[in-house]
C-alpha cells in the first residue's frame, strides 16, 4: 500500500503548514506541519491534551487558525464552517456517535442532505440505492431500513462513516474511533477503512493506541504539547520509540519524601465491576482492586476515557456498581449516599472544574461553601452563617494563593489556574481523610501547578490518602508512591515511580505489554 502511494506524484490530500491556534490563556496548537498523501491511512498520535482535537477542528472548519495555511488536494482553502469543509470533501466521524436512535439507518444517513423530488418530498428510493452502493463498497451487510436503536456499537460507527461518505467525503477524519470498540470490532473497522482507501479515499486516524497505529496505518504524525514533533512510518519505528516520541523522554526524578506511608488502609476497592453507559458496550470497569494507605499517594496513569471517571463516580456513590466492594477506613460503603461518604472524609477534585467543580455565576464565597453545608462553623441549624462563610472563604483564598480582588467576585471572572486553586482549596478545607484528585493541575500555569503539588505533599505528610488520577507523567512520577496503570477499564500494571520509565508508562497506557523481565 505505502509503495503505491509513494509512487503517487499528484498533490497531497491535506497539507497543513505553520498552523497555530490559541484560546484565551492557552496555546493549543503552534507550528503544525502535517502532510497527508492521498490513498493512505494517516495516523495522528499523541497524549491527551497534545492538541490533536484542536488541530482536527481547525481542518474541519469548526474554528479558524490564527496563523498558517491549509491546502486540500492542492488548493489553498479557508473553512469558515464545517459545511464548507464538507463541500471540499472532508468528513468527520466523531468519537461520540451523533445518531438519532428512533430513526432508521437511511433516515439517519440522509438527515440534513435529503434527496427530494420537485415537490419537496423525500425520495427514499434514490437514497436507498446510493446507500446500498456505499454499503457494498464498505462491505457492510445490514438492512438500511433497520432502526439505529437495534444496532451494536460497531455497526453504529459504520453508519457514522456512511453518513460522511454519503455527503461525498473523500477525506475522512476519525477521532479516536476505537475507544468504544472491542478488539474484534476494531479489526472490522480497519477492514472497512482499507476498502475505502483502495477506492481512493484518504483516512486521517486520531489515536493514542500504538498497536493499532503500527498495525494498520500507512504513515504516522506524532504530536506533543501542541505541535507536531515527528513524521514517520510503521516501518521506521517500533512501539517503544513511538511511545518515547509521544510522551517526550526527559522526565523529572521522583521527589524524595521524608515521611513514611501509613500502615492502615484508608481506601479499599475490591473486585469492582461497573457497566458502561453505552448500551451493549464492554464494561467500563473490570475487576478493579486498589488499596490506598494513609499518607500515601497512589497514582492512576492512563489515557483519559479508560475508566478513571467511572472509578471516581463509583467510589463517590454517584454510579451504581455491578459487583465488588468499596470501603473507607474498613467500613463498606454500599448503601451510603454521596453525602454520607463525603462526611466520612472523602473529598473530590472533579475532572472538569466547569462542569462539576464550580458555580461559575456565583461569588467565590458560595463556591468555597459548596458541599460543606454540614460544617458546624459555617452553619447554625438550617441557617447559613454568611459572615463565617465569607471569612472562611478569605482564608482559603489566602492560603491557596487564589488571585482575586475579593471573595465577592463571581467565579467566571477568575483565570483557569485560580479557579482550580479555589477548587483544590475547598476540597482540602474540610480536612479530608481521602482525596480523589482528578487532573488536579490540568490547564493551570506553572506557578499554580507547583502550589497545588506542594499542598498535596503537605497533606500527604499529615496522613491524607490520595488517589491521583492524571495523564501528566511528570505529575504522576513526582508525586506518587505507587503508580497503577489503567487501560480499557482494567488495571494493567503497577509500577514503582523510582524505576518507571516513560517508555514503560507509554507502553502500558496505550495497551501494550512489556515482555522483558523487570
Amino acid at each position: 500500500m505505502s509503495e503505491n502511494s509513494e509512487s503517487h506524484s499528484g498533490p497531497l490530500a491535506v497539507e497543513l503548514h505553520g498552523i497555530s491556534k490559541s484560546f484565551p490563556g492557552v496555546i493549543a496548537n503552534y507550528a503544525i506541519e502535517l502532510m497527508v498523501r492521498p490513498g493512505t491511512i494517516h495516523a495522528i498520535v499523541g497524549e491527551n491534551g497534545a492538541g490533536k482535537s484542536t488541530l482536527m477542528k481547525t481542518l474541519y472548519g469548526m474554528h479558524q487558525p490564527d496563523d498558517g495555511t491549509i491546502t486540500v488536494n492542492g488548493h489553498a482553502v479557508q473553512f469558515k464552517t464545517p459545511t464548507e469543509a464538507i463541500a471540499a470533501g472532508i468528513g468527520m466521524v466523531h468519537q461520540h456517535f451523533m445518531l438519532a436512535d428512533n430513526l432508521t439507518i437511511i433516515e439517519n444517513i440522509i438527515l440534513g442532505a435529503e434527496p427530494t423530488d420537485n415537490r419537496g418530498r423525500i425520495n427514499f428510493g434514490v437514497a436507498r440505492e446510493r446507500i446500498e452502493v456505499l454499503m457494498a463498497s464498505l462491505g457492510a451487510t445490514f438492512d438500511p431500513g433497520t432502526n439505529v436503536s437495534e444496532l451494536g456499537v460497531g455497526q453504529r460507527q459504520r453508519v457514522e462513516i456512511l453518513k460522511v461518505l454519503y455527503r461525498g467525503a473523500k477525506i475522512l477524519i476519525l477521532d479516536e474511533p476505537t475507544a468504544v470498540l472491542v478488539p474484534q470490532e476494531v479489526e472490522e473497522l480497519f477492514e472497512t477503512l482499507k476498502r475505502l482507501v483502495l477506492d481512493g479515499s484518504t483516512v486521517i486516524f486520531i489515536s493514542h493506541k500504538l498497536d493499532e497505529v503500527l498495525t494498520y496505518c500507512d504513515e504516522i504524525t506524532v504530536m506533543r504539547q501542541g505541535t507536531t514533533v515527528a513524521h514517520t512510518t510503521p516501518a521506521q519505528v517500533d512501539r517503544r520509540t513511538l511511545a518515547q516520541l509521544m510522551v517526550g523522554s526527559d522526565l523529572p526524578d521522583p521527589s524524595g519524601r521524608e515521611t513514611e506511608v501509613g500502615e492502615d488502609i484508608r481506601l479499599q476497592v475490591l473486585g469492582l465491576n461497573v457497566a458502561s453507559e453505552i448500551p451493549g458496550a464492554k464494561l467500563a470497569l473490570q475487576d478493579i482492586n486498589i488499596n490506598v494507605h494513609s499518607g500515601e499517594i497512589v497514582g492512576i496513569a492512563g489515557v483519559e476515557g479508560n475508566g478513571q471517571f467511572e472509578l471516581c463516580e463509583a467510589i463517590l456513590g454517584l454510579r451504581p456498581k455491578l459487583s465488588g466492594t468499596i470501603s473507607v477506613g474498613g467500613n463498606e460503603l454500599s448503601g451510603s449516599d454521596t453525602r454520607t461518604r463525603r462526611e466520612m472524609g472523602l473529598s473530590y477534585i472533579a475532572f472538569d472544574r466547569h462542569r462539576e467543580g464550580l458555580l461559575l455565576d456565583s461569588p467565590l464565597w458560595e463556591n468555597t461553601f459548596l458541599g460543606r453545608e454540614e460544617n458546624a462553623t459555617l452553619t447554625a441549624g438550617p441557617f447559613m452563617k454568611n459572615r463565617s462563610i465569607e471569612a472562611d472563604s478569605r482564608v482559603i483564598i489566602e492560603r491557596f494563593g487564589v488571585l482575586t480582588p475579593s471573595e465577592q467576585v463571581p467565579a467566571f471572572a477568575l483565570s483557569g489556574g485560580n479557579q482550580q486553586k479555589l477548587v483544590v482549596g475547598r476540597e482540602m478545607a474540610s480536612n479530608p481523610k481521602i482525596l480523589l484528585a482528578a487532573h488536579p493541575t490540568r490547564g493551570v500555569d506553572v506557578g499554580a501547578q507547583s502550589a497545588i503539588w506542594d499542598e498535596l505533599r503537605i497533606a500527604r505528610d499529615r496522613g491524607l490518602a490520595v488517589l491521583l488520577i492524571s495523564a501528566d507523567l511528570e505529575e504522576l512520577i513526582g508525586l506518587s508512591d505507587r503508580i497503577l496503570v489503567m487501560f480499557d477499564g482494567h488495571i494493567t500494571a503497577e509500577l514503582d515511580p523510582n524505576t518507571a520509565t516513560p517508555e514503560m508508562l507509554g507502553t502500558y497506557m496505550t495497551g501494550g505489554e512489556i515482555v522483558t523481565s523487570l
Partner: protein, 361 residues
C-alpha cells in the same frame, strides 16, 4: 468589598427599569399610530397615583401576583420553569371552596384550614409534573402546560357536575355553596384591600430567608446554577426537583385565596383567572428576587387598577395589557444584553485588580 454586591444590585435594578422605560416608549408609538395622544394617556394613567383608592386597589391586585410570582421564582431558582401555576391554583380553588364550605370551625382555624387545603392541593397537582420529570424525564414546561389544560377541564367538569349550588334568587352566575363567614379572610380596607396582602408579604419574606439564608436554599440555588457540581457534593438532583415543585405548587395554591376567601367566598368559573400566568411576568421583571417581585407586582397591580381611567379619556384600556406584554419582552432582551456587558465588566475589573497587585508586589 460590599461595593461589588451593591453594584450588582444597581445593575440589575437599572436593567429592569430600562425595560419598563423602553416598553413605555414603544407603547407611546402604538398610541400615536392609533391616533391617541400618548402624553395625555400617560398623564391620565400615572396621574391616578395620587388617589388613595387607586393605591389601595393596587395593593389588592398585587397580592395574588406576589404569591404567584414567588411560586414561579422558587422553580426558577432550581432552573425549573413551572408554567402550571394557573392550573395548580384552579385545582386548589375548587378544592378549598368545597372543603371550606363542608365544615364548621371557629374563625381563625377555619381560615387556616382553608389555606392548608389550598397549599396541599396545589402541591399535589404540581407533584404530577415533578414526578413525570424525575421518573420519566418529561420536561416540566411541557407537562405543566398540559396539566393546565387537564386542571381547567377537570375543575370545570367537577364544578358543573357536583358542586354547583342552587342559585339565590336574582344571581345568574353559577357558584359553589358559599363559605361560612368564619372562613372569610378579613379586609384591611372594606371592599378595597384584603388582609391576604399580609400573607403575600409573609410569603415573600419567607421566600427570601429560605432561598438566601438557609442551607437548603443554598443547595437549591447550587442545583439550579450547576447541577453537575451540586451532584458531586451529594445533593440529590431528583429530590431537589421534587421539593421545589412541591413548594412551587403549594404557593400556587395560595394565589387564588384573596379572591376566594377575601372577596367572592365561593368558587365561580372566572375566579382569579389568569393570576397564575401573570405571576410569570412579575417574576421575570422582578428577577426572581423577593424585593424585585414586590415592586413588579405593585407596578402590574397599578397598571391594572389605573387602566379603567383611560376609558374615560376614550383611550382603550387594553393599552396596559399590551404594555405588560412589551415589558416582559423588553425585560428578557435587555436583561440578557446587560448581563453580557456586566460579565465582561466584572472580568475586566478582576483582571485589572490582579495586574495592579502584581505590579505592587
Amino acid at each position: 468589598m460590599k461595593s461589588q454586591r451593591l453594584q450588582r444590585v444597581l445593575v440589575t435594578s437599572a436593567s429592569s427599569l430600562l425595560a419598563v422605560f423602553v416598553a413605555l416608549c414603544i407603547c407611546a408609538v402604538i398610541l400615536l399610530i392609533t391616533g391617541k395622544d400618548p402624553i395625555q394617556a400617560y398623564s391620565t394613567l400615572f396621574g391616578a397615583a395620587g388617589d388613595i383608592k387607586v393605591l389601595q386597589g393596587t395593593l389588592n391586585r398585587a397580592t395574588p401576583l406576589m404569591i404567584s410570582a414567588a411560586a414561579v421564582a422558587i422553580g426558577f431558582k432550581m432552573n425549573l420553569f413551572n408554567i402550571g401555576v394557573e392550573g395548580q391554583m384552579r385545582v386548589a380553588l375548587l378544592a378549598t371552596a368545597v372543603a371550606g364550605a363542608a365544615i364548621d370551625l371557629p374563625a381563625p382555624l377555619h381560615i387556616l384550614f382553608s389555606l392548608v387545603v389550598a397549599m396541599a392541593t396545589g402541591a399535589i397537582w404540581a407533584a404530577f409534573a415533578g414526578w413525570l420529570k424525575v421518573k420519566r424525564g418529561v420536561n416540566e414546561v411541557i407537562s405543566t402546560i398540559m396539566l393546565n389544560f387537564v386542571a381547567l377541564s377537570l375543575v370545570a367538569w367537577a364544578f358543573k357536575s357536583f358542586f354547583t349550588a342552587d342559585n339565590a334568587p336574582g344571581v345568574l352566575l353559577a357558584k359553589t355553596k358559599e363559605l361560612p363567614p368564619s372562613a372569610w379572610f378579613p379586609d384591611i380596607v372594606e371592599r378595597r384591600l384584603n388582609g391576604m396582602f399580609f400573607i403575600a408579604i409573609l410569603v415573600l419574606v419567607l421566600f427570601y430567608v429560605l432561598v438566601w439564608k438557609t442551607k437548603f436554599g443554598f443547595q437549591l440555588r447550587a442545583s439550579g446554577a450547576n447541577p453537575g457540581a451540586a451532584r458531586v457534593t451529594g445533593v440529590n438532583p431528583k429530590r431537589m426537583v421534587m421539593i421545589s415543585m412541591l413548594m412551587s405548587g403549594a404557593l400556587a395554591g395560595l394565589v387564588g385565596m384573596r379572591a376566594l376567601l377575601g372577596d367572592v367566598h365561593a368558587y365561580q368559573n372566572n375566579l382569579a383567572e389568569q393570576q397564575g400566568f401573570n405571576g410569570i411576568a412579575v417574576a421575570l421583571l422582578g428577577r426572581n428576587h423577593p424585593l424585585g417581585i414586590f415592586i413588579s407586582a405593585l407596578l402590574f397591580g397599578y397598571l391594572g387598577e389605573a387602566s379603567g381611567r383611560l376609558q374615560l379619556e376614550d383611550i382603550p384600556k387594553e393599552i396596559t395589557t399590551i404594555m405588560t406584554g412589551i415589558i416582559v419582552l423588553a425585560v428578557v432582551i435587555i436583561n440578557e444584553a446587560v448581563k453580557r456587558w456586566d460579565d465582561k465588566r466584572i472580568q475586566h475589573k478582576a483582571a485589572l485588580a490582579l495586574a495592579t497587585r502584581v505590579v505592587a508586589e
